[in-house]
């Protein structure tokens, strides 16, 4: 089936089987391999992307369901080639990751949180990433990364939408 997707601000025309999940379409058809498969049954959150700015599991969506939505993947958060967003940079600053496999999903969940709640409490942050499993970090440095990004965005007065 032909489907027209809007990914990271760009139009993309794809031809996929109805059974193809949005996760597999992003990775295999569009080559956006920053989105990862962890369980393929909607629990681990490694496949998290943004759908109209809100986190969603791309393994729990069919590609054919995704037309007409604004999709954002980790590749869409970088400001430019080699240029990290404030949030991505904060993860590097606090080492909010180790193997990196859950990191794209974690950063997108955090991005959605900061867009809605510019000054999140620790409880807000923990709730926002509770749907993203990480086996390496024990979450501590991830929470610190998100809090640091919130702080930097506030002081730099950048509207979170543009991070």
């Amino acid at each position: 089936m032909r489907v027209e997707l809007q990914v990271n601000g760009r139009r993309a025309e794809v031809d996929v089987e109805p059974r193809c999940t949005l996760l597999d379409c992003l990775r295999d058809t569009l080559g956006l391999e920053g989105t990862h498969a962890g369980c393929e049954h909607g629990v681990c959150g490694a496949c998290t992307i943004l759908v109209d700015g809100e986190p969603a599991r791309s393994c729990l969506m069919l590609a054919v369901q995704a037309d007409g939505h604004e999709l954002t993947t980790i590749e869409g958060l970088s400001l430019g080639p080699g240029e990290l967003s404030v949030l991505q940079d904060a993860f590097c600053e606090t080492h909010g990751l180790q193997c990196g496999y859950c990191t794209p999903g974690m950063i997108l969940a955090a991005h959605a949180l900061l867009a809605r709640t510019p000054q999140p409490t620790r409880a807000d942050i923990v709730e926002a990433i509770s749907g993203n499993l990480c086996r390496c970090t024990g979450y501590g440095q991830i929470v610190e990364a998100i809090a640091l990004a919130a702080e930097r965005l506030r002081s730099a007065n950048i509207k979170t939408g543009e991070t």
């Binding site: 089987e17 109805p18 059974r19 809100e54 069919l62 369901q65 509770s130």
Partner: protein, 294 residues
Amino acid sequence: MKPVAFDYVRPTNVSEACALLAGDDGARIIAGGQTLIPLLAMRLARPTRLVDIARIADLAFVRDEGEDVRIGAVTRQSVAERDPIVATKLPLLAKALPWVGHKATRHRGTVGGSIANADPAGEIPLVAVTLQATITVQDAAGSTELAAGAFYLGPMITALPEGAIVTHIRFPVWQEGRTGAGFHEVSARRSDFAFVASAAQVALDADGRCAALGVGIGGASDTPVRLDAVSEALVGSRLEETEVREAVVAATANLETVDDLHASATYRKRVAATLARRAILDARDEALGGRHAR
């Protein structure tokens, strides 16, 4: 974990959807897909065609109709969670929605999908049973209303006729007195399937007596269960802790509970009484205006 191959159609209205379902027992409805797609990935569900109703506009709404609030089946759970009508008119549903899955699944999952999926631990079905909601279903022949209390027959098993679609759910709005709601859930992890959940809504009259009470248990049995005996026992009382404790223990004495890897049947029965009590007392306190959660 790639699904079997299937067709995909996107009807523009309900009757078209019903027509597509009629006479094709390989067709399945998809709305949010948050439970169906894992079943597809595991090849437990093997449809030949998916009928996507997620974009049928006249199934996506939250409408205050005085007597009740009517919620369209494909209303996203996150939309209901942020809807002011739900917040003010359906305090119990508003309190239960944050417990449904994760933020990411609530953004795609629908209210009707959760109702129809009938997971024994489903929070929305529990609220529907507790508040004695009515579920409107439609098939090629027309639409009928089913009482939530008679809708759930077993785990993931409902009275939804073959080839029918849930179109909307009517949650009664409690008019009289001051109402309060309470919701408690126990699971291994904060966002998991509940071992036990309890939802309670209470209305108090002018001098603090219980004018109406609804309490239900989810996750403990094969279906959500409304503890009618508790309503009968406590309406008219002041919902003192000891009265509430006795009523819930009596009402759960022969509750059939599930024994599985994560929780024993005795655990589920015992904790059902505990959570029912806590939910009722929270609801009472909220109705009294005191924000004193147990």
